[in-house]
């Protein structure tokens, strides 16, 4: 699916190339002198195999710069997240296109009742169909966090079944419940959705997130996922989940250094396990809110840190992705400006895959009308990214000379008719009415979004082939029988 590829993508970074070098050197100092902790022999072996030093009973890994640079040199500069059985849905990562992806939540503002309640299996279906129908939603994170109306055992399997049954758009996956068969079951389901194991290896459709446990611990569970992702051909998104002031330093530069320490460690680990495996750096590192201790996902420093990670990715010619999000506990002005500012900042810094649409309050709340509104926000950002195209015809000198000075109008000019649709943005929902007309009577923006969302839920059909849906159901049946009897 074609992302937004305007000329401003990758044009604004919060640090200079010289500063990138300083951040890199600082991160290398930490890796060489302090290293990372690793409590898992499989991971220790991966680091040892490429020349890292293991100390403290093989739990402390010291990583020399050469090993980091060798590993970075093996990473492709781009990859594709494929539409499942639909090349029109392909998302190119690392080639100057920006794609928007949904985010997840534990609660939902019910579109029909207005009630705020815990999410259910039906919400997983609805959220997937919403994302499938919206033009500027290029990919999906899990449509809801968990299914509160289902058993916790096999919860991820049920959720993934509904997800894969209702869209062919590519997706992004982060560790869920930690249940025993989660890794192998989910990968099997993704393979079914792709049309088979080899087909998924050839055309991966999921981005697999691997996270360091900050500060500086290679997590056992994420090593399970790293192996699963690499074995199945699933590209990686590698990230530090530090919180500045708690599990990371309280300066923006220090946060970026620790992010790079942890990202470099995962680059080395993954490239040791599978040289040449595609990966992206990922922005997932907010500061801690200094009053509540919560992660402050909507604040500028999170977005700025993402820009810093993008600068480092650009410095090494590696793709970059990231999480958006807002701290607001409802969909309001705060959500709107936190998301718009951060996502535009992300897009300017060249993030290829921004995980943000349809949710707020740090993975706590989703809303389908909000997904509709943020679909429009994505369109706005895409338009901003175009900047100003300068060529002879667009400079319009002949037309300017022909029309002016007054009296004269451009409205009936062929030049106008040719260009206005491409050059001017026309929002679908945002208000453009005369003030007086609006005063006399109007439909609120939220209501317009709600009506569009209801229309999608009433009319949009899953594009997934019936036989794939049946195979997914069949595999889910196997999982349920195995785990719940």
């Amino acid at each position: 699916m074609k992302g937004f590829d305007g000329k401003l993508v990758g044009s604004v970074y919060p640090i200079t190339p010289e500063e990138c070098k300083r951040v890199h050197d600082a991160a290398i100092r930490v890796l060489e002198q302090g290293g990372v902790r690793c409590d898992d022999e499989r991971a220790a072996k991966m680091f040892e195999d490429v020349g890292c030093t293991l100390e403290n009973n093989r739990e402390l890994v010291k990583i020399p710069e050469k090993v980091v640079m060798d590993a970075l040199g093996k990473c492709p500069s781009s990859f594709t997240l494929h539409g499942r059985n639909d090349p029109d849905l392909d998302c190119s990562i690392g080639t100057g296109e920006v794609h928007f992806c949904t985010v997840t939540g534990r609660y939902i503002d019910d579109i029909r009742t207005g009630e705020r309640r815990k999410v259910t299996r039906q919400d997983a279906i609805d959220g997937t169909l919403m994302a499938d129908a919206l033009e500027h939603v290029h990919g999906l994170y899990k449509p809801v966090m968990w299914l509160y109306d289902e058993e916790m055992i096999c919860n991820s399997q049920i959720l993934t079944t509904e997800w894969m049954k209702h869209t062919n758009k590519p997706g992004t996956w982060v560790y869920n419940t930690g249940a025993e068969h989660e890794v192998s079951d989910l990968i099997k389901m993704w393979q079914i959705a792709a049309g088979g194991e080899e087909e998924m290896r050839r055309k991966p459709h999921m981005l697999g997130h691997v996270v360091v446990n900050p500060p500086r611990v290679i997590d056992v569970h994420y090593t399970d996922w790293l192996i699963g992702f690499c074995d199945s051909g699933t590209p990686l998104s590698i990230e530090s989940a530090l919180m500045g002031g708690a599990t990371g330093p309280a300066t923006r530069a220090g946060m970026l250094v620790q992010c790079m320490v942890e990202i470099y460690a995962l680059v080395v680990q993954s490239q040791s396990y599978k040289p040449g495996h595609p990966l992206a750096f990922c922005s997932f590192s907010p500061a801690m809110d200094m009053r509540t201790g919560l992660w402050a996902t909507g604040t500028p420093e999170f977005g700025i840190n993402g820009g810093g990670i993008a600068a480092m990715a650009n410095y090494h010619n590696i793709p970059v992705v990231g999480f958006g999000m807002s701290d607001s506990c409802e969909f309001d002005q705060q959500t709107a400006h936190e998301k718009a500012l951060k996502n535009y900042n992300y897009a300017l810094a060249g993030l290829s895959w921004i995980i943000d649409l349809g949710g707020t309050a740090g993975f706590n709340l989703v809303s389908w009308p909000e997904m509709v509104l943020e679909n429009e926000m994505a369109a706005y950002i895409g338009e901003y990214l175009k900047g100003i195209q300068v060529d002879e015809e667009r400079l319009s000198v002949d037309t300017i000379l022909k029309v002016g000075p007054l009296p004269g109008s451009y409205m009936k000019e062929k030049h106008t008719r040719k260009w206005f649709r491409e050059e001017f943005f026309m929002p679908e929902l945002n208000n453009k009415e005369f003030f007086e007309s609006w005063q006399r009577g109007h439909v609120e923006l939220q209501e317009k979004a709600k009506q569009k969302a209801l229309s999608i839920l009433d009319n949009h059909q899953s594009p997934v082939a019936a036989e794939i849906q049946q195979e997914l159901e069949s595999y889910l049946g196997f999982c349920l029988q195995r785990d719940l009897g």
Binding site: R106, W146, G178, G245, T247, M290, R291, T292, G293
Partner: protein
């Protein structure tokens, strides 16, 4: 130079808590003990006054978590020295209550639980933070060892939630439950869940946890802004 034990001394001691100055706090305590300060008085007129001010300032938004956490840490170091002397003299320090707190087995998230511990401590509770990934036996042993009034359990994850119930069941089995209150908290913990597993209270955030503890242990104190909000 010998220190004179007077109001100025106690003010300085309180200030070390407010400023998070651990070395200065320990120096002043040791110097005070040499000069014959009553250790109980040093806690009540010095350290406790400092931590009360810190708790108040945090509740009203004057200071932030790092300042609170550092103050709680200095308080802990200071009371550890003075408690030894108090015990040796055969008396006991007044405390609102003793809390064991930890993150349950299967979860290694540390920050939320540590924030709650620091806020509890800043509000006059003795808090023993036993860490992360804590199994049933370790919780039970810690409650016994410290003769705690309250057990606090935390998690950010859903799957290990039932570990909380296992701990409560064990407490009942060994006859501990009637004497020890249980407070639970963390992202997936709801009031319904707490009721279901038989916990006494849920702390929905750090200030709320203190408010609930006060209720469980019958502590009356002037309400601060944040507590009123939580209520």
């Amino acid at each position: 130079m010998s220190i004179i034990i007077n109001d100025e001394y106690f003010d300085k001691l309180a200030q070390t808590i407010i400023d998070g100055e651990d070395e200065e706090c320990v120096r002043l305590i040791n110097a005070g003990l040499e000069a014959g300060v009553d250790p109980l008085e040093a806690v009540e007129k010095g350290l406790a006054r400092g931590i009360d001010k810190v708790g108040e300032d945090f509740g009203t938004g004057v200071i932030f978590l790092p300042e609170l956490a550092m103050a709680a840490d200095v308080m802990k170091q200071g009371t550890a020295i003075l408690d030894e002397r108090i015990k040796a003299s055969g008396s006991n320090r007044l405390s609102h209550g003793k809390i064991i707190i930890g993150t349950i087995k299967g979860d290694i998230h540390d920050i939320g639980k540590s924030v709650v511990a620091a806020v509890m401590q800043a509000n006059g509770y003795d808090v023993i933070d036993i860490g992360i990934d804590i199994d049933v036996d370790t919780f039970i042993d810690a409650v016994k060892e410290h003769d705690a009034d309250v057990l606090g359990m935390s998690t950010l994850l859903t799957l290990p939630l039932m570990e909380m119930e296992k701990v409560i069941i064990r407490m009942k089995d060994i006859g501990m439950r009637d004497n020890v209150k249980v407070i639970v908290g963390g992202c997936p913990v709801t009031q319904e869940f707490a009721d279901e597993i038989g916990a006494d209270a849920v702390g929905f955030d750090a200030q709320d946890a203190v408010f609930k503890l006060d209720g469980l242990l019958g502590i009356n104190r002037p309400r601060r802004t944040a507590q009123l909000k939580a209520e």
